[in-house]
Amino acid sequence: MNQTWGWLKSGIVLGLIFLLAVAVVKPIGVSTQYVIADCLIFCNLKPELAQKVVLDDGTVEYRSTNPYLNKHNGKYVKLAKGPANYGFVFVIAMFIGGWLAAKFGGPKVPEDETWIPRVWRENLGSSWGKRMLGAFISGFAILYGARMAGGCTSGHMMSGMMQTSLSGYLFAIGVFAIAVPVAILVFRR
């Protein structure tokens, strides 16, 4: 079986997932979890980046010497210090969901595309190193940009525009103003 869905079915089901998330918990967002994962790795190397402080009256505060991690009363520190939480589990589960979809029902990723997508190969060649470097730089740009913007495709564009947030529209304008010419210029074939 190697089945994909048409655009209408796809749109309905994808829309229902975003609706379900906001109805049950809160709007879907992914890019914050990259910061949490980073703090799980790097905050252990520099303990002053993630401090759990118990005050005299027993209340717990989370602080960081880094101004970004210290934002919103140390929200990121709290998430990184705390046990597994909704947002982090959500992102890990996305990996499992993708695996299940490819395994049961498909579409399967074509064997010659497990490392290099077809459109990349046709335009930029079959060099493994070139694609991995390209992917690394792309990953750097999307997360640096998403953190500057305060969200990514899921948080700003999908969840944001669903709620008619102005920020979702601003993000979409910034993204497509650059992504469309980049794709047209780089992938000509």
Binding site: A93, M94, A101, F140, I142, L143, Q163, G174
Partner: protein, 197 residues
Amino acid sequence: MIKQIILGLLLGGAFGFVLHKVQATDPNKIVGFLRLTDMHLAKVILFAIGFSSLLLFIGLATGLIPPTHIHVKPSYVGVIVGGAIFGIGFGLGGYCPGTTIAAWGAGRRDSIFMVLGGLVGAWVFVLTYGWLKAHMPWLFEPVVEINGTAAVTIADTGNPKYPALVSGMPGVVVAGIIAVIFMAAAWLIPDRIRKID
């Protein structure tokens, strides 16, 4: 606590599954959309936004969905600039922060490098945030501000924390009009706008 973890597993799992099924995990499809040669994902995204928005605002109007679940992000200049930086990697790599994780699960292993780049990019932002705030404060200036907040919506959600640009009209009407435009656009956009020979 355990309820949150189970919800995260179920909703995240469903989200990853659906991202793959709608082919948002396929860089060929993302690039096809961005270079306007295969508009499948454009139609999917437009319809998903319109459809979910319509149901969300009906849910808010009928009280089925509590307005406290609404979470609006502030509109500041960095949203547009950050979006543009995002656009470079999106156009070149063909993945988003979320789709690359589902794609990795589905077997697209270049996602490993996308995720590694993402972890480094997010951490570099954490480290440069203080410098940006001091030297490029305009990035953090609000684009629009109502009642002292930049977290604004177009339609009234009923959550007083987030003022609406269009006031004096029920949110479900304003959002409903926008939703119909989005769903109609999904319907009307051709399968391809450009052709590649």
